[in-house]
């Protein structure tokens, strides 16, 4: 492109309203609202306070994983192992806390020990992913694919070692409260998520590390020459993703009162899908926590509306796929507009 083209580009005329809408970073939020409004005629129950609260509490654990994923996506990585981290952390954490021969049972510190176990599993797996990607130059897709396979299997295996049953229950009440409790009518998990999302937002927008993440995602070579510790930045992105998955595992395990080795196994595509629909790029360098929140909200509202309608699974799959595709097509058109601008 010549400099002449650039000058022209900056002289573009003001855009018509529909184009401005299409280019707005609130597009996904607007789509969600439109969808919600349409759904009010199909299932009026969607507009009750209870359902809205359900949407909110359903969003929370998914959102935490998606936030972790956002970090990895920004550095042009991908973390397929998040669901297996959720499962592994769930059974390990539960095995520490459970009243049925838990390792820390009766010590009085079981909840703290349990939560530490969750976080330890998340950070260790994240650490491993990060090391493989940064030290051994392995592609993130494959590293996390193998860790996903490994820990999905390992979670089941671990459960069989610990118990005859297929899951670990009898968890301390105070732990369960984290996932289920309400404060002033709002889910307690909301507080946890607000802290995580707030911290993530500030890291990305206000700290040096945040700026480095984007730089690494946009051009790792230039970032390295500019004094960005590229390997460290990528490494920590994977650790953050692992820890976020572990936190989400705490919320999931708490709300189900059970450590189960199949927890979260089906949410991988939802997590990545939510981030991408929100506008996070799979090629790195682009993403915001706010966008991820919109993406998760969008998918959760769709899910909730489909649940309320109680349709056969064939329709659920077809509708969900079509909506994701429609959102992606709209997004592709938006990109075309952005490029041609």
């Amino acid at each position: 492109m010549t400099s002449a083209d650039a000058t022209i580009a900056s002289k573009a005329r003001p855009l018509p309203a529909w184009k401005r809408l299409l280019l707005s970073e609130y597009l996904v939020l607007i789509l969600t609202v439109v969808y919600f409004a349409v759904m009010m005629f199909v299932v009026p129950e969607i507009a009750t306070a209870d359902t809205l609260l359900d949407v909110l509490s359903a969003m929370m654990p998914l959102l935490v994983v998606a936030i972790g994923q956002t970090f990895v996506l920004i550095v042009a990585g991908i973390d397929l192992s998040a669901p297996s981290i959720i499962a592994m952390a769930s059974v390990v954490g539960a095995s520490v806390m459970t009243g049925d021969a838990g390792y820390a049972n009766g010590s009085g510190l079981e909840v703290i020990a349990g939560i530490l176990a969750f976080l330890a599993v998340g950070s260790v797996i994240g650490l491993f992913n990060g090391t493989c990607v940064t030290r051994f130059n392995m592609p993130p897709f494959i590293v996390t694919l193998t860790t996903m396979m490994f820990f999905s299997g390992a979670a089941i295996w671990y459960t069989t070692v610990h118990t005859d049953a297929s899951s670990i229950g009898n968890l301390p009440r105070s732990f369960i409260e984290i996932g289920q409790g309400r404060v002033a009518g709002l889910p307690l998990s909301l507080a946890v998520v607000l802290v995580v999302a707030g911290a993530a937002h500030f890291i990305l927008s206000r700290t040096v590390y945040g700026r480095w993440l984007y730089a690494v995602g946009l051009n790792p070579k230039a970032a390295a020459v500019s004094g960005v510790p590229v390997r460290k930045v990528i490494f920590w992105a994977f650790v953050i993703s692992g820890v976020c998955a572990a936190i989400s595992s705490v919320l999931y395990t708490g709300r189900l009162e059970t450590g189960t080795p199949v927890l979260g196994q089906r949410i991988l595509l939802d997590v990545i899908g939510a981030a991408v629909i929100g506008g996070v790029s799979l090629f790195g360098g682009k993403g915001k926590i706010l966008w991820t929140i919109f993406g998760v909200l969008f998918l959760t509202v769709i899910d909730k509306s489909l649940q309320l309608m109680g349709l056969p699974i064939a329709s659920v799959f077809a509708i969900k796929g079509s909506i994701i595709l429609a959102a992606a097509i709209i997004d592709a058109q938006r990109h075309r507009l952005l490029v041609s601008r």
């Binding site: 299997g153 899908g273 699974i313 595709l325 992606a328």
Partner: protein, 326 residues
């Protein structure tokens, strides 16, 4: 880095997947006397064929730096249409028909990706859901049976070789010829290396990309039918999450996810390697809980050595300015 040690480690690294394969064969062979038999080897290849066929199609997609997550859904949808609407076809008719169905599925992906410019990952993620939904609708969640003649074909052997291996061999030969001996095949590699340069060089990039996704669709459907002729019915989990072993097979075989590097022979090797491990674990009567653990560790080792090899090669091939006297 002394010359000899460098060369030796390079030699080891370059043949790492083969060495790994050899080690596995020896270990399993020592643990079970039924493992190292010709019949068992045929058995392994037979069971690997459907994954290998689909992975061959996936290799084309990976070579242009794309991805297709919808292969499993494609398998199921093609099989469901065949089983529900086109009952009782003999294999000679069923294969072309299923290939056309797969082609149509692939063409939908291709249209989204090339014409509407939606990212391949998200397109095929969406068609995964949609395809599965439509297939479930057609099948009413019931198991879709394949016709008697297709099942007979699934059991048949020709010249002592199971039918699945024949289909697999035919697909492999066609893929090899297409990739190595046609302009299209070379252009696939060119686009994988640099799509912008390919466009400037006058390659019709959209057409090649479109064709590649169609090929992947055809392979997915044909692989589905091969698998179906063996397992006799397509239940509602038919092809579910097949995309993972398929991608793993291609990557194990040295195909890069970033395009331009790899080939179908490697992919076939990867598929057979994975199946060898599964087979060996059964032969040695291992605890079923540890299957996924062992398989993932082996894939990890293979990819790890491949990455190390690339790193070493890059270091060795770094441009020399001075010729140093030894």
């Amino acid at each position: 880095m002394s010359g000899f040690r460098g060369k030796f480690s390079l030699l080891v690294l370059q043949n790492a997947p083969l060495l790994l394969f050899a080690v596995l064969v020896i270990v399993f062979g020592l643990m079970s006397d039924r493992f190292l038999t010709p019949i068992n080897f045929v058995n392994i290849v037979n069971q690997a064929s459907h994954i290998a066929i689909i992975a061959i199609g996936m290799t084309f997609v990976l070579l242009i730096a794309g991805i297709d997550l919808s292969v499993g859904a494609n398998m199921y949808l093609s099989a469901a249409i065949l089983g529900v609407f086109l009952v009782g076809m003999p294999p000679l008719v069923a294969f072309p028909v299923v290939a056309l169905l797969g082609l149509a599925f692939g063409a939908v992906n291709a249209f989204m990706i090339t014409q509407l410019r939606v990212a391949a990952f998200i397109t095929t993620l969406a068609t995964l859901f949609i395809g599965r939904g439509i297939a479930l609708y057609f099948s009413g969640n019931k198991m879709v049976p394949f016709s008697k003649s297709v099942l007979a074909f699934g059991r048949a052997t020709y010249l002592g070789v199971p039918s699945a291996i024949w289909v697999f061999a035919i697909v492999l030969i066609i893929a090899l010829v297409v990739l190595k001996l046609t302009t299209f095949g070379r252009q696939v590699y060119a686009i994988g290396a640099d799509p912008d340069a390919a466009a400037k060089a006058g390659i019709n990039v959209k057409r090649v990309v479109f064709t590649v996704y169609c090929i992947c669709g055809v392979c997915a459907a044909v692989g589905g039918l091969v698998s179906g002729s063996q397992v006799a019915v397509a239940s509602s989990t038919f092809g579910f999450q097949k995309e993972f072993p398929v991608i793993a097979a291609a990557v194990l075989g040295g195909t890069s996810l970033f395009g331009g590097r790899g080939g179908v022979l490697g992919t076939v090797f990867g598929a057979v390697l994975i199946q060898t491990v599964e087979n060996g674990l059964v032969m040695t009567n291992a605890n079923p809980y540890i299957y996924p653990l062992v398989i993932s560790v082996i894939i990890f080792i293979a990819v790890f050595t491949d990455s190390s090899r690339t790193t070493v090669l890059e270091r060795l091939e770094r441009r020399k300015i001075r010729v140093e006297p030894d």
